[in-house]
Amino acid sequence: MAGNGSDPHQDKARRFRDAALPCLDDVYTLARYLLRDTADAEDAVQECYLRALRHFDTFRGPAIKPWLFAILRNVCRGEFARKSSGLNYIDQYVGGETDKDEDAVRPLWQEPQVSPETETLHQRDAQTIRRLVAELPEQFREAIVLREINDLPYRDIADVIGVPVGTVMSRLARARSMLRKAWIAEEGTST
């Protein structure tokens, strides 16, 4: 392995690493929101990076992040779609089984173990928002995550999802409207 720096494979791997690794947190964030499961998200991100390295020759720029997101999205929709039972759950949930019990909703967003002492009000808020985002149907969830959390411009979101910019805009409008309704409902139940 350790060897000659001019090896084209190593060179490609190094260029890929330098370009793609800084996006790891962003890719991981998107994976967590798309799959709503820590272990699946980690596996999907690893698969995404391996695939991206294999296809790095076909990357034409300019920005690597949307390209990685598009690959991740394919990984999530392919291999992990079966495993992710979340979508069925959402369908039931939206379909009228309006059990707003906290415990009934929680499995959608698995928070990594946080000790109760360090959990401030701010963090609890973040957790609530994450759960509310996680409860959105997939197409609205991915639009809002790409926009608000991964901070992508509409053009890039359109490229990642493969829809026109106008569709991105209407999905975002819809996503925010749903999120706001859920938010208000949440405040009603928790206080």
Binding site: S6, A13, D25, V45, L53, A126, E148, I149, P153, L179
Partner: protein
């Protein structure tokens, strides 16, 4: 503009994706429509709460290690014979440069934010105060010499009118307490300020998009200079500008 149109477009406005003309129309409608004004407030509040919620996650260190291990390159850039040799040739120059870049890396984040803040302010000022250019001409051979004696760098000025970006002129700006050149371009009705500063990091890095106060900023380095292009045009067009500028700066060999 109707309420139905506004209900969709106000999201684009909140996301900084509307051009100036549409933004004005949406704002005008919102001013006179309590319903849409309430929507605007509600979604702005939601957006701010999401931003404050720190919803971005950090990849676990174990995942980072797993991925790094999967690459055929050792993470610490195992020094090959060739690079050691190069190290000898470059000698102290290289180590000085490396030390400098480390130093830069450590102090970058804070300064970065300040510099970006200054860039946005300078851009906004240039639009508000009707002081877009100190030297107003579309002739690159007039703009370039104008900077002589005003700066200790000679900023490259290229005319991209034929490529869809009209050269308007140049201006002197102060960013982070330093005099810098601003070269002003126009794309349709959008102004692009291209700030050129000295003291760029050693390596050339490719343009990276950042968004601040709704403006898109692309920042890159070339020829030992640091460039910041800022505008309200979308990120893709700004990247197009960067590419055209770079291409004009480094014409293909043999041309």
């Amino acid at each position: 503009m109707t309420c139905t149109e506004t209900e969709i477009l106000l999201h684009a406005l909140l996301d900084g994706e509307l051009d100036a003309g549409h933004a004005r129309e949406v704002e005008a409608h919102v001013e006179n429509c309590p319903h849409c004004a309430a929507q605007m407030r509600a979604y702005r509040e939601l957006q701010q709460a999401m931003a404050a919620g720190q919803l971005r996650l950090t990849a676990p260190a174990s995942l980072r290690q797993r991925i790094e291990k999967a690459f055929p390159v050792a993470p610490q850039r195992a020094s090959s014979r060739r690079s050691v040799l190069r190290g000898f040739v470059m000698g102290t120059a290289l180590s000085t440069a490396m030390a400098a870049s480390l130093f830069v890396a450590v102090f970058r984040t804070d300064q970065d934010q300040r510099v970006l803040g200054d860039i946005v302010s300078a851009h906004v000022r240039s639009l508000q105060a009707d002081h877009l250019t100190d030297v107003q001409t579309s002739d690159q051979h007039t703009v370039k010499p104008w900077f002589n004696g005003k700066l200790d760098i000679a900023p490259p000025v290229v005319d991209l009118t034929a490529k869809g970006f009209t050269l308007l002129g140049g201006r002197l700006e102060y960013i982070d307490g330093q005099a810098v050149a601003s070269i002003v371009y126009r794309r349709r009705k959008h102004v692009i300020n291209l700030f050129v500063t000295q003291g760029a990091p050693i390596e050339n890095h490719t343009a990276k998009l950042q968004t601040m106060q709704g403006y898109n900023i692309r920042r890159w380095t070339a020829q030992g200079l640091e460039f910041f292009a800022i505008s309200d045009i979308n990120g893709e067009e700004l990247q197009e500008f960067v590419e055209k500028f770079d291409a004009a700066l480094n014409p293909p060999k043999g041309a």
